[in-house]
Assembly symmetry: C2
Homo-oligomer: 288 residues x 2
C-alpha cells in the first residue's frame, strides 16, 4: 500500500509540475488534492489486479494514477459548499477551503480530464484497444449511470427516506462503480476478455459493498483525526445508511460475509491473488 | 447548421432518456442544458471536417455530440455562482438557476464523462486507434493545458491586467483548444495522419482567434435577446479583452484578417471544404 501510494504521488508530481504562467494556482490546487494522503485503495486495486496477469508495472501505475485522478476529482466536487460542504479531507483543508471555490471546481474538472488523457496516452499502453477499453470503462463508472448518478441519489437521500434496496443501488453507483472499474481496468491491461472477468467482477461487486458498509460504520464509530475528515455527517443530514437500516451488529456481519464472498470469487487464482484477498480483509478492518 | 443542430439534439435525446429512479433530476438537468439552443458550431466543425474525408455520417454525428457534451459541461460550470454567476444561457435559465447549484455541478460532471464514453464507444468508430486518438485529443483540450487552464487564466484576469499576448494565450486555451480539437477529431475520424493535418490545424488556430475576437465585439455591441445570455460582462469584471486592448476598428480588421488566413489554409481542398470556409465567414458575421 505504501509503495503504491508513493508511486502514485510520484506520477502526480511528474504530471503536475507547476507552470510559470497564470495557470500556476490551478496546478497548485490539483497538487494539493492529488498528492499526499488517502489510502490509495483504488490504485492498489488496479495494480493488484494487473499483477495477476503480469502487466508491465509502468503501464499499471499510469492507469492506477488515472483512476486516482478521477477519484480525487470526485472528492473535490463532493466537498464543495453546494455539495457536502466539507472543510477537511485526507487530513488537509479541502481544496475550496485552501484555494477558493472556483479554483476547486476547476481543479476537479482538470483532474477529470487528466484521468482520460492518461488512459488514452500511448505511454500508458501501446495497444489502442486496451486504451479505448479503459477509457470506456472509466467513463461509464464516472457518468450518470455511475458516480455522478450515485451522487445525485445521495442529494435526493437528504429529503427522501430510501429503503435498503435503494441505498444499496445508491452505493453501487456512488462508490461501487469506480471500485469495479479499478478491477476491470487491471483486467483490460492484462488483455483478459469479458468472459474471463466474471470472477473479478464478482469480487469487485462484493468488495464495493463491504467497503461502503465499513465506511458507514466508520462514519459513526471512527476517529476524525485518523479519518482526516469530518464524521457523523450522514446522521446529521438525516440520510439512511447501511448502518441506520441494518443496525451495527448486522452491518458488521454483512460486511464480513461480503468479504468472504469477495474472496471466494478469487478461488480460480493462486498466491498471485493474495494482495486482492488482503485488500478485501483490509476494507472492513481499517480504521480510516 | 440547422441540420447538425437537429441531429445533435436527437443524439442527446436518445442518450439521455430519463430513468424512472432517483437519478431523474440529473438527467433532466443534463437535457435542459444539452438539448435545444446554441449555435452547435463545434459539432458543425467536426461534421464539416469529417466530410472532407468521406467519414460515415453516423460516426461523425456521435463524435460531434461528444464534443458538444464537453462544451455544454464547460458552459454549466462557467455559469456557476462561484464562476461567472450567469442566470441566462442560450435563451434559457442556466442549469443552476433551473435545477440548483449541486445539480448543476453534477450535470456538468456527468456530461464531461459522457463525452469520453461516447468517443470510446465502439458504435462511434470500429477502429480502437481512432477512438483512443479522439479521446486523447479531447482530453488534452479539456484539461489544465486546455479549457480548464484557460478558465483559470480567466479567473486571474479579474485581478491582473493582462497584455495582448497573455489574453491571446488565455483565449487559445479557453476556447481555441476545443475548436482545434473539433477539427482534429474530424481528421482523426478520416484516418488523416498528423502530417496531413497541418492545413486544418492552421485553419482551426486562426478560426479560434477570430471567433473569440468576434465574441468580444458581441459582448460590447450585441443584443442580449439574440445572444440568449447577459452581455457586457467583461467590461464589468474589468477584464482585458481583444476589444479593450485593440479598439473596435482594429479588432474588426484583425478578425477578418484571421478569417481570410483561416481560409487560405484550406487551399489544398476543393469544394468539399466550402462548409469550413462558410463557417469561418459566419464566425465573424454572426449576431449571436
Amino acid at each position: 500500500m505504501a509503495r503504491v501510494a508513493a508511486a502514485v504521488d510520484k506520477q502526480f508530481d511528474l504530471l503536475l509540475s507547476v507552470p510559470d504562467d497564470p495557470r500556476a494556482e490551478l496546478f497548485e490546487a490539483m497538487r494539493h488534492s492529488a498528492i499526499g494522503g488517502g489510502k490509495r485503495l483504488r490504485p492498489l486495486l488496479v495494480m493488484a489486479t494487473a499483477r495477476l496477469f503480469n502487466v508491465n508495472e509502468n503501464c499499471a501505475i499510469r492507469a492506477a494514477t488515472a483512476v486516482e485522478a478521477l477519484h480525487v476529482y470526485s472528492l473535490i466536487h463532493d466537498d464543495l459548499p453546494c455539495m457536502d460542504d466539507d472543510a477537511m479531507r485526507r487530513g488537509k483543508p479541502t481544496t475550496h477551503v485552501a484555494f477558493g471555490e472556483s479554483q476547486a471546481v476547476l481543479a476537479g474538472d482538470a483532474l477529470h480530464a487528466l484521468a482520460f488523457e492518461l488512459l488514452a496516452d500511448e505511454q500508458t499502453h501501446s495497444d489502442p484497444f486496451v486504451r479505448s477499453e479503459m477509457v470506456a470503462c472509466l467513463a461509464r463508472a464516472a457518468g450518470p449511470s455511475g458516480m455522478a448518478g450515485g451522487q445525485m441519489m445521495d442529494l435526493v437521500a437528504e429529503t427522501t427516506t430510501f429503503d435498503l434496496q435503494t441505498v444499496t443501488r445508491l452505493q453501487q453507483l456512488k462508490t461501487g462503480a469506480l471500485i469495479a472499474a479499478c478491477v476491470e481496468i487491471g483486467a483490460i491491461l492484462g488483455h483478459v476478455a469479458i468472459e474471463g472477468r466474471k470472477g473479478l467482477r464478482g469480487y469487485a461487486h462484493d468488495l464495493g459493498l463491504a467497503f461502503q458498509i465499513a465506511d458507514d460504520i466508520l462514519d459513526v464509530e471512527g476517529d476524525e483525526e485518523l479519518a482526516g475528515k469530518a464524521l457523523h455527517k450522514d446522521q446529521q443530514a438525516g440520510k439512511q445508511t447501511f448502518l441506520s437500516l441494518m443496525g451495527l451488529e448486522r452491518a458488521r456481519e454483512q460486511a464480513q460475509m461480503l468479504v468472504n464472498q469477495a474472496k471466494s470469487h478469487l478461488s480460480i487464482y493462486g498466491e498471485e491473488a493474495d494482495v486482492l484477498r488482503a485488500i478485501a480483509e483490509f476494507t472492513v478492518h481499517r480504521d480510516r
